[in-house]
């Protein structure tokens, strides 16, 4: 290394030094990094509190060098509510998987959103239950084979994938909802901007916001990381269209 070179990009400082337990190519790692980059860039480390879910990201608290809380499976929005009501001056985010948020935690996310809790929800949608072995999630797409839909998800007995972000966007006090995907640098950049916006919603007291991130689970999709990335783009976005679903926080911004 030449003496006069500087770091243009590296590990965010708010990320701990631990090596993650995620599988190679897992989207969780990307989502983690984005959040920690923003914590650094927005200088939030001393005034943000995160909630780790029950899911593959269960020990996210080992990776985020922030004040962090565990929540029972699906209850992260309720835990976030409790924290935020005690520390209204702090930023609070919950980090949740699609099983956590869209299955067992459906009630908590809907009511936190309806109350307009001033929290940011980072919703990592990998269309399966990563942690427990890739079972069907509410977000699993029709026909997708998982360990509990051996013949593929069946529309007639299991219903179609649930689009929670769209559902939440219907609620008055949800001011911002966007769906992004963790695939190319460009898309990942958009995801980062969305997360930044969500944090701003809190800072400016606008209301509840959610950023859904379509994220690869190469292990349970039984794909290599590259194929998993491509599958998001080519297949998942059909059921989960990308873009801003709602933005009443800054209607001008799109």
């Amino acid at each position: 290394m030449s003496e006069d070179m500087v770091l243009k990009a590296g590990r965010p400082q708010s990320m701990s030094e631990a090596r993650t337990h995620y599988c190679p190519g897992c989207g969780h790692g990307i989502a983690h990094r984005l959040i920690m980059e923003l914590v650094d860039e927005m200088d939030l480390r001393e005034r943000i509190i995160g909630i780790a879910p029950v899911g593959c990201a269960v020990v996210a608290y080992h990776y985020f060098d922030l004040d962090m809380c565990e929540a029972a499976h699906g209850r992260a929005p309720a835990v976030a509510t409790g924290i935020k009501r005690v520390h209204p001056d702090k930023l609070v985010f919950s980090y949740q998987g699609d099983g956590d948020l869209a299955a067992i935690g459906t009630n908590e996310i809907i009511h936190a959103a309806n109350r307009g809790e001033l929290i940011s929800v980072i919703f990592v949608n990998n269309t399966c239950y990563g942690m427990t072995g890739g079972q069907m999630a509410p977000t699993t797409i029709v026909g997708q084979k998982t360990s509990t839909t051996p013949h593929g998800r069946n529309l007639l007995s299991e219903g179609p994938p649930l689009r929670v972000s769209e559902m939440l966007a219907q609620l008055e006090r949800v001011v911002y909802a966007e769906r992004c995907m963790l695939t190319t640098a460009r898309e990942i950049g958009k995801a980062k901007k969305a997360i930044a916006r969500s944090l701003r919603c809190q800072m400016e007291g606008k209301g509840f916001s959610i950023v859904e991130l379509l994220s690869a689970c190469p292990t349970h999709w039984r794909m290599n990381p590259s194929d998993a990335r491509d599958y998001i783009e080519s297949r998942l976005t059909k059921d989960f269209p990308l873009g801003v679903i709602k933005n009443t926080a800054w209607p001008d911004e799109a």
Binding site: V6, K8, R19, T20, C26, H28, D40
Partner: protein
């Protein structure tokens, strides 16, 4: 021209950075790290444009990109200078 460093500790050999690089600077090495993973490495003589795409897609924050000091004062300010171990960024600009 930028310099790329891949941490053999963090890298899990997923190959996403390799796909992402427009300049074909990266590849999977044949050497294993302590967990038995074949990590990514920089191709000898690869010409890095410093586009950061590899960094953006890396799920394990295993990539550092360095550029000549002058070119990137601003970035340095927010990301901290090389080797600077301090945990707080100095005068971070935020993205507002």
């Amino acid at each position: 021209m930028a310099e790329i460093r891949i941490s053999g500790y963090y890298c899990k050999g997923c190959g996403l950075c390799i796909d992402a690089c427009p300049s074909q600077c990266l590849r999977i090495s044949s050497s294993l790290n302590d967990t038995g993973v074949q990590v990514a490495e920089v191709v000898d003589g690869g010409i890095c444009r410093g586009c950061l795409q590899c960094h953006a897609v890396c799920p394990d924050a295993a990539i550092e990109i360095l550029v000549a000091a002058r070119k990137s004062q601003k970035a340095a300010a927010s990301a901290g200078s090389v080797g600077g171990g301090q945990k707080k960024s100095e005068g971070a600009a935020g993205d507002r």
